[in-house]
Amino acid sequence: MDELTAQDAVDTGKVAFKLASETPLHASPDSGSPVIEVLAAGSLLTVASDAAEFLQVITAQERFGYIPDSTPVHPMQWTPEVERAASAAAADQPPVAARDYWANAGTAGVMAAAAGGQQVSRAAPLYRDDSFVPAAPLAPEERLLIYDRIGSNKTRTILLILAFIVFTAVFLLAIGVIGTVYSGYDPAEDPALIVQMAGFFGILAIGLGIFMYSISTRAVLGISGAHEIQKEQEPQLFRIVENLSIGSGLPMPKVYVIEDSAPNAFATGRSPDSAVVGVTRGLLEKLEKRELEAVMAHEMSHIGNYDTRIMTAVAVLVGIVVLAADLMLRFTYYGAGARPSNKGKGGGAIGAILLVLAFVFVALSPVIASAMRFAMSRQREYLADSSGALLCRNPDALADALEKIAADKDPLEAANKATAHLYIENPLKEHQSFMNNLFATHPPVDERIKILRAM
């Protein structure tokens, strides 16, 4: 292969592409695995790529022997069957081999998709002639390996947390500005006083926050009416949780059940040691074992990723911001409204502008804080889907479970706006709209299912 020039590669690639797009293949028991045929045509393409990729396709070829023989498959397409075969194969492997599978599946998929004229971003390096690349925008369902998804999700969560910290700092400073003005000083001349005020309110907020945080788990369990169960009462559920805690290396959480026919599940608790997972009676009745396992893997991932802690902390923080903004606006409106002019000092132009900005920010802050909280909540749901799929090795089971839960029209009586973020899927069954999406605790379920199916 060393003798091939770039031009040879491009030419061969073009021939392979033409062959592939014109020749529909049908699988029959005699012709062996359809995927092998697909890849046989695809292997023409690999001539155009390098030897390493060729080897990977060969490996993928061997491993894809799983596909049902009678399924008609259009060549060069990354069909659901190929996908299922890949996930079935991967599900049986120890982690390292599974990762190889995904890598191989990814390569094979790229090959197949590229040859079929479908655009997949990773196909691009296969072609060295730009004019040959079928130019299409990146598909939203661009296939990512599970590991990549977990990585990019973590980055996004860190960015959100940073944004939250910046937001809180600005909020405290805005409160500081208002406080300064209403104590009769000009914020433009007294920046140190603003910081002192901000610090004072910050300490108050921390005290309140710690109190709310420390009672949160009990409050949640109390509100939702969940009761703890022992192994003898729900042996299957209990065993699944035991297995998953072995598989994830987390301590065994307490297991709770909510007596409600709407299928749903939740995880809470501030640390893995004091964690709680819970399911509704409806979930136990409506899901198969592998689906239940996938749902519990999602919940265990919330614990392992410290989502339960982060989301509790964020919920407390948002609660305080809403409370503080409300108090501040009422206080300045009804109470101390006349004070700045009394002392005749609040008057500087910069000070006035600062005051107006601070008021606008404080007035908007509950909305901003909530939107950020829900953005983070949605991010954590995607992350838990990915790592849950990795833990139970069965993304399809989780997708099936989500489909069942979403299709169930029964709203969960025990949930309300305050606890909705804890559940695996939005328990409130709201309609879709722009505002509801912005303030949704969960990503659209279709989107989650689509991503899981692509794994």
Binding site: D92, P94, P95, V96, P235, Q236, R239, E242, N243, L244, I246, G247, S248, G249, R393
Partner: protein, 192 residues
């Protein structure tokens, strides 16, 4: 003045490099300890399974006394599990026991009375539960080994890890037979 600044800069650099090095070293120690801890998770389940074997053999013997070879095979595999010293040995012995149990359960299918016995069904359910737990413990162990080996074998740790006696850990592998067994023989739902 200038030499002093240079000296300070050098000292700071040395301290940073030393701390970085300590971090790498401690990371390796942590990784190795995690692998050990994860191994004990598998070990517990392997021993639980091995300890059920005598009971199982006795139960089956009560209904199928003349299947001597099968019993011996299972008993041999069981003592291999208990004596295994290294991880590949344990994996091999575990695979052997899995195969032997598979054989035993296949033999048991010929005895309807045995199939109906409460004791036998409980043992079967318990073994299938342990089987799943071994699979999860293996997954956790292998993840930890992967993490540790990755750390060990990448730049820059690869340059000094050998010096301090860090060596790559072994994965706990099952063979084809073991996987088939999980599907075929333990698919009976737990009887509760």
């Amino acid at each position: 003045m200038v030499p002093l600044i240079v000296l300070i800069v050098v000292i700071v650099l040395v301290v940073i490099v030393a701390m970085w090095f300590v971090g790498l070293y401690n990371g390796l120690v942590r990784g190795r300890n995690r692998v050990k801890e994860a191994w004990s998770g598998i070990d517990v389940q392997l021993r639980r399974r091995a300890s059920l074997v005598p009971n199982l053999v006795e139960t089956v013997r009560g209904y199928a006394a003349h299947e001597r070879e099968t019993f011996e095979e299972v008993t041999r595999a069981r003592s291999a599990v208990e004596q295994a010293g290294t991880i590949p040995d344990a994996a091999a012995a575990n695979n052997m026991l899995t195969g032997a149990l598979r054989h035993l359960f296949a033999v048991a299918e010929a005895y309807p009375e045995l199939q109906a016995a409460e004791n036998f069904r409980q043992l079967q359910a318990e073994l299938s539960d342990i089987e799943e737990k071994i699979a999860y413990a293996r997954q956790f162990y292998n993840t930890n080994v992967l993490d540790y080996n990755n750390r060990l074998q990448t730049v820059p740790t690869v340059f000094f890890s050998g010096m301090f006696g860090f060596t790559a850990e072994e994965f706990f592998e099952t063979d084809e037979e073991g996987r088939a067994e999980v599907r075929v023989d333990f698919s009976t739902p737990a009887a509760e």
